[in-house]
């Protein structure tokens, strides 16, 4: 378990991280979300013992990062931001160095390095200088270094930054697979990544935790959550708006139909209108809306219950706005 207790870090008069506390257990993949400069990397640097906290502390597998840094480091695999490595070395030598420092000797060391190069698809570049590798390969070298000792705790600072979509998918699969038996913290500002990979997300803004929950929970804070997007054919917008506003639990209805200037919307020569119905707080309106439309016998072209938009939650939480 990683337990972070009122971790605080000042840089001069700036509070980069301000009294953050949370715990992450085995089998959890925690996504650290936040705009650039929110304190994600600083927090990770403190958990990995690289940066001493101004106050507060963290324990990794029971070892305090301030009092027992070496024991804590031995349990952690860390991928720093933009995965730095000794560029003048080749991949094999670099991993052999990491293995040596991680305490492996002789055959075991060699086998570890060989195995991790296979896992991370590095065999073809084993004897290439890291400097000459593409960003994707360098990222994999960083991963290999972090996974080498099969650590219980993985801390990954923007693991998919700068990778192409295929590589991103590859990395996400790898993380998900590892997440079953490890405890992983990863930081990102890509929201789909959190939805795709993480079992829990913490949003930080200006050094403070502003939200903590599963991606679904966070999404449900969105204003859009539970709203219905509706497309109707051959119905006058005026009539539809007036009628739908009276449906039970509907808070308000907005017209999203593209204007004539934008090309309008037509299907088989008939006009299409697009509306969005927002529910009152905590209510579901799908059933009521459906039966109302049925009663009116309107022709429906689309009916979507929105799950909520993590982008919007993220934006409102970190810009000082208020999410519902």
């Amino acid at each position: 378990m990683i337990a972070v207790q009122s971790l605080t870090r000042h840089f001069g008069s700036i509070k980069a991280v301000d009294n953050i506390s949370f715990t992450v257990g085995k089998g959890e993949i925690l996504g650290f979300l936040g705009p650039n400069g929110a304190g994600k990397s600083t927090t990770m640097k403190m958990i990995t013992t690289f940066l001493p906290p101004t106050s507060g502390t963290a324990t990794v597998g029971g070892f305090d990062v301030i009092a027992q840094p070496l024991e804590a480091r031995a349990k952690i695999g860390y991928l720093p931001e933009s995965s730095p490595s000794y560029r003048d070395m080749n991949v094999f030598d670099f991993l052999m160095f990491a293995a040596e420092v991680r305490g492996y000797d002789g055959d075991e060391r060699l086998n570890r390095v060989k195995k991790i190069m296979e896992t991370c698809n590095l065999k073809e570049v084993a004897y290439q200088q890291i400097d000459t590798l593409s960003k994707g390969f360098r990222q994999r070298v960083g991963f290999a270094q972090a996974f080498l000792h099969d650590p219980e705790y993985l801390i990954l600072d923007e693991p998919t930054d700068g990778l192409d979509p295929n590589q991103k998918q590859e990395v996400r699969n790898l993380i998900k697979q590892m997440g079953r038996e490890k405890c992983i913290i990863l930081s990102t500002h890509i929201l789909e990544e959190v939805e795709a990979v993480c079992s829990r997300a913490i949003i930080i803004g200006e050094g403070k935790i502003v939200a903590d929950g599963s991606p679904e929970e966070l999404r449900s804070r969105s204003k859009l959550h539970g709203a219905i997007t509706l497309e109707l054919i051959g119905v006058e917008a005026k009539d539809a708006l007036a009628g739908l506003e009276k449906v039970q639990f509907v808070d308000r209805v907005t017209d999203l139909t593209p204007s004539a200037a934008e090309g309008g919307a037509e299907k088989n020569g008939k006009k299409v209108i697009r509306l969005r119905l927002y529910p009152m707080s905590g209510k579901s309106i799908a059933h009521e809306t459906a039966s109302f439309i049925h009663q009116k016998n309107w022709q429906v072209d689309g009916f979507t219950v929105e799950k909520g938009d993590l982008n919007e939650v993220f934006y409102s939480l970190t810009k000082g706005g208020v999410a519902r």
Binding site: K45, F50, L70, R73, P80, P84, D93, E100, V101, G103
Partner: protein, 244 residues
Amino acid sequence: MRNFKAVLKRELKSYFESPVAYVFIVIFLLATSGCTFFISRFFENRIATLEPFFIWHPWLYLFLVPAVGMRLWSEERKSGTIELLFTLPITLWEALAGKFVAAWLFIGIALVLTFPMVLTVAYLGSPDYGIILSSYLGSFMLAGGFLAVTCLFSAMTKNQVISFVISVVACFAMLMLGVGVFTDFLNRYLPVWLSDAISAFSFFTHYQGFQRGLIDSRDLVYFISVIVFMLAANALVLERKKAE
């Protein structure tokens, strides 16, 4: 100890995997023999001694040692590998000593490669091998002193050029404190005990002892304590600056 060795090996290897090592060794060998033969006129002296060879070492080290050491920490900080290094289960001192000793050994290798000078002088006459040995030891200790100073300034900045320039200036100061011109100047204005004390802090003063064939424990202790002091300061600087 194993981590110290791991860092040392990695560091030493990285010298030889980049052109730095070869450029340094070639320049060092050319410069030492060039100065010995063309400026000190080794042959024309007709004396079987390596004094005209060793007398140049402080002045060549003044530029060459900072060139070897300038990247030690500034490069780690600039490229971010310092974050990697200090999140591996290595202590600060293991990393510090490993890197320092690697660079020192590297200079030592260059120094050993000057052996044809010894062969030359042995072929031409019968030199005092004791003096040659103690001079080599002195030269190696001097290089260690310069290197420790360079290490310290290398940790202070991410910029290798700044690290080089400041190291050269600092090494120059450490050297000049004991050079004749400067001590004469001090003698004129300061009491003798004070100017003596100042020149006692100089690399130059202690290097000269070795050139006379004397391995004085005070000179050894001087160089070792300079190195330890500089490395301790280096450790403090790194603690404070590593994350910047």
